[in-house]
């Protein structure tokens, strides 16, 4: 027999177990018939019985034969599984409770792991993922700092461990015009080797070439995403060669990216348009082409056989050259590389707290589930002591009993594992759904596809729990003296089990109460943040008007802005209109502040956040001025410079005991400008209980127009329903200057909700965890 025959024999034995059984039985039957004939010849009557005696125990022969064929383990496993399912079917309460407990524990761990995996570990969803690395200047605090295309050029000559280096700027808001429609899209400026490095092919057309990225502003070619092609171009079959406007300039579409490809900035906004960096000025990246322009990230691909360690060594040797290419001074920054996995280094910081919270909650739930599982298995062991005693008395070996009990645990673990794995897919998507839309209304994308790790972990946890609890329970249950157990009354044998069970239930209830307390505290904190703030977000719509994306000059956007405000105020639906330059309406752009302020020109040591706000800004938000007035239409360029301070800044500059009224009229130096304080407002910016107040100085929107790019955010208080009026507001702003896109339209309440997503999420997760913990405790108490 050849090796092939031997393999065939084994595979037949393994996979054709039913046929094996039938053949063996038929062969024995044939043997029995021939033996009967022989016995009849020798003895006449009673031949069949004699033949049976001569052949012996047919079941035993078949089992021996299975053992000889190497099938015994499969056969006994099948027997054990069948028996296990029957036993569990007879105890549905126990089986159900155990499966629910395991599923909950596994789902909690798997969800926490899936999110940690998605944020920190998961490679980019592209074919070349194993070899891709991110290269960045390390900040002292652990963050990343990107320093532009010049540094990428240095890398191309100084890091032979990389066979490709891509320069990309993947986080750009672009104003895209399709026909007569204007939309805001996220675009990326990427070097021509981007696609080749990632290992992806166009769905239609082609990607741009190195020649098309060689001369500044020369080649307006664009690749669009499949979703853009679907949603904005209605799957136009003649998409290639079609023209779209980006930042006011016409581009030719040369290709469509593959379906599902959203770019490489995972955790951020999906890219819909890709353009060569030489065209980056349409995205207001005006320094492109000049030395040390801090625009562009570097993504490298390791050469075949090259290691990350080798790359890091090479990076250390080119560090001085990279620093010189990227920074204006002569100090040397540390450059590092890490696998291109999870979110970008800059984004991760936002998710560290969430990951820790989820891991902590998952650990507590797992602890409760483990306590529950131990309790259930102790209860089962106690209930089945008599059964085990009877089986041992009838000759069953301890190993056989242990194997049977382990099989039962395995069945529970397998069902619990599968249910837990499915539940974790649902909870992971649900949790990440909190982050899909940010406080500016932008969609974010996460790589949540199911991978081997995500499926494997729940099964591993299930396996480990089986080992931990199943083996211990099996050994304990089988290590009994049958005579003692059979003689002892049931209740006597169960006393110890009941005692352990109640201890475990008490522990679970304690943990559940702990979770419940934490959830309540977090809810109160969130409620105070949402409702006790010193401004009123109800019936306020927010909009962002972006003349900067359209490249509109100051001479054009200023009258347009006035016209928008006039038209909005003329609408009967509108109660009041306010606006602020650049940033979010009620938060500081930079928590550390961006302006030097002080009491005189020689004393500007204090740092504050400078915000340029419109007349009626505070009354629109219903922020009570503590003293003085707010800005009026009279605070314009050419009039006396005025300012408003918030209470934290006032206390910082003039001392904690000063009254707001006495500050009004005082001089305040903001950078090189001397202003007069005309009002004091409270610290109304929403913040967590442990976040310090930000000192803020407000300046009139129209007093220092120079330097503004026109990017403006509106807060519009309406008389009726915000969601109902938003389209009217957008139509009104859009009608004034049709080339400028109006975006980020939403109610201020939803914006605040999105801003505190982690708090809301923490609150939801803790409340759910407390509920689950109570449910598990209830199960444990009942079973």
């Amino acid at each position: 027999m050849s090796l092939l025959d031997a393999l065939r024999y084994r595979s037949q034995a393994l996979f054709k177990r039913a046929k094996f059984g039938r053949d063996a039985a038929a062969e024995l039957e044939h043997h029995l018939e021939l033996e009967t004939i022989e016995q009849r010849r020798l003895h006449g009557s009673g031949a069949r019985e004699r033949a049976h005696r001569a052949v012996g125990n047919v079941t035993f022969i078949l089992e021996e034969r299975r053992a000889a064929a190497g099938m015994a383990p499969f056969y006994t496993l099948t027997q054990d599984l069948r028996y296990g399912l029957t036993v569990l079917g007879r105890r549905p309460a126990f089986a159900g409770a155990t499966i629910v407990t395991m599923a909950v524990g596994i789902a909690a761990v798997a969800t926490a792991f899936a999110i940690v995996d998605s944020v920190f570990l998961r490679p980019l969803p592209v074919p070349e993922r194993p070899r891709l690395v991110r290269i960045f200047f390390q900040r002292p605090g652990g963050g990343a700092r990107r320093r532009g295309l010049d540094a990428v050029r240095v890398l191309r000559s100084g890091a032979p461990a990389l066979d490709e280096i891509v320069a990309h700027e993947s986080r750009n808001v672009l104003q895209v015009g399709v026909g007569d429609r204007l939309i805001e899209q996220h675009g990326a400026f990427v070097s021509a080797n981007y696609w080749r490095t990632l290992g992806i092919q166009p769905r239609i057309g082609r990607f741009f070439t190195a020649a098309e990225d060689s001369v500044l502003d020369r080649d307006p070619v664009a690749v669009v995403s499949s979703s853009f092609w679907d949603a904005e171009l209605q799957r136009d079959p003649h998409v290639l060669g079609r023209r779209i406007r980006i930042g006011g300039r016409e581009f030719v579409i040369i290709g469509v990216a593959p379906f599902g490809f959203d770019g490489i900035a995972v955790g951020e906004m999906p890219n819909d348009v890709w353009v060569p960096p030489s065209m980056a000025r349409v995205g207001r990246l005006n320094c492109i082409g000049s030395p040390r322009c801090p625009v562009g990230d570097a993504l490298g691909r390791l050469a075949p056989g090259a290691s990350l360690q080798a790359l890091r060594t090479q990076l250390r040797t080119v560090e001085p050259r990279l620093s010189a290419a990227a920074f204006p001074d002569d100090s040397v920054r540390h450059v590092t590389a890490e696998p291109a996995a999870g979110l970008s280094v800059a984004e991760r910081a936002d998710y560290v707290g969430l990951s820790r919270l989820l891991s902590a909650i998952a650990s507590v739930i797992l602890l409760i589930a483990c306590a529950n599982l131990s309790g259930l298995l102790v209860a089962r062991g106690t209930a089945r002591q008599r059964e085990m005693a009877v089986r041992i008395s009838l000759g069953a070996s301890r190993i056989r009993l242990i194997r049977q009990l382990l099989t039962e645990s395995l069945i529970l673990a397998a069902i619990g594992g599968v249910v837990g794995a499915f539940a974790s897919l649902w909870t992971t998507r649900g949790l990440m759904g909190f982050f899909v839309t940010d406080d500016e209304g932008f969609r974010h994308f996460f790589n949540l596809e199911v991978n081997a790790r995500i499926v494997g972990l729940p099964l591993l946890v299930a396996g480990v729990s089986t080992l931990l609890f199943g083996i211990v329970a099996a050994f304990t249950s089988s290590r009994i003296e049958p005579a003692d157990v059979l003689k002892t009354s049931r209740s006597g044998a169960g006393v110890q089990g009941v005692r352990i069970g109640s201890m475990l239930v008490s522990a679970q209830v304690a943990l559940a109460i702990l979770l419940l307390t934490a959830a309540t505290l977090l809810m109160r904190s969130a409620a105070s943040l949402m409702h006790a703030q010193q401004f009123n977000a109800d019936r306020v719509a927010v909009l962002r008007w972006r003349p900067d994306l359209a490249g509109l000059e100051e001479a054009r956007f200023e009258p347009a802005l006035h016209q928008i405000v006039e038209r909005l105020q003329a609408l009967p639906e509108i109660e009041s209109v306010a606006y602020r330059r650049c940033c979010n309406l009620v938060w500081s752009a930079d928590p550390h502040g961006n302006a030097h302020v002080g009491l005189s020109a020689t004393d500007t040591a204090a740092i504050a956040d400078a915000q340029f706000v419109s007349p009626r800004f505070f009354s629109t938000l219903k922020v009570q001025t503590l003293a003085g007035r707010e800005f009026t239409d009279g605070d314009r360029e050419g009039t006396e410079r005025v300012s408003i301070v918030n209470l934290p800044l006032a206390r910082k500059l003039w001392g904690a005991s000063i009254g707001p009224a006495s500050i009004v009229g005082r001089a305040l130096q903001i950078g090189s400008a001397e202003t007069q304080v005309v009002g004091v407002v409270p610290d109304y910016q929403p913040r967590g209980a442990f976040t310090a107040a930000v000192p803020v100085v407000y300046e009139p929107y129209w007093q220092t127009v120079a330097g503004s790019d026109g990017d403006t955010r509106f807060a519009i208080r309406v008389r009726g329903d915000v969601t109902h009026d938003i389209s009217l507001l957008m139509k009104t702003t859009g009608a004034v200057e049709p080339t400028v896109v109006t975006t980020e339209a939403m109610s201020m309440s939803s914006q605040i909700g999105a801003r505190y997503v982690q708090l809301r999420l923490g609150e939801a997760v803790l409340a759910a965890a407390a509920g689950i913990a109570l449910l598990l405790s209830a199960i444990a108490a009942q079973v």
């Binding site: 022969i61 021996e64 000889a68």
Partner: protein, 116 residues
């Protein structure tokens, strides 16, 4: 006398380690089904060696697993379907080795007993 002594001998001792040898040797004569193998050995040894089905069939299974015999279903001369076993080339080589080992063992035992 010799026959009676042989019958008194504990069968398992006689067969220990030699069942493979006996079955393989039997199959060199012709292909046979299990019952025929058993009857052949029993008849040839005047009932001195009786192989129980409980030993024979697991042995046939083991020999198949090792590739020394093959099995297939065929209609027997009595018109019944029977499973016939054939020795393979590997089985013949194995038989040669086992015969040599057996001969050496018999010679060695004979020397100990002073008969050689």
């Amino acid at each position: 006398m010799a026959r009676r002594d042989a019958q008194k001998m504990p069968k398992s001792e006689v067969l220990k380690g030699t069942l493979d040898l006996l079955v393989l040797q039997t199959l060199t004569l012709q292909r046979m089904h299990g019952y025929a193998i058993m009857q052949h050995i029993k008849g040839l040894t005047d009932d001195a060696l009786t192989i129980e089905p409980g030993s024979l069939y697991p042995t046939l299974e083991r020999l198949q697993k090792r590739g020394w015999v093959t099995a297939h279903w065929e209609t027997s001369p009595t018109g019944r379907d029977a499973r016939y076993y054939d020795i393979t080339a590997a089985g013949r080589r194995q038989l040669g080795e086992e015969r040599e080992q057996f001969d050496r063992a018999i010679w060695a035992i004979g020397r100990v007993l002073g008969r050689v």
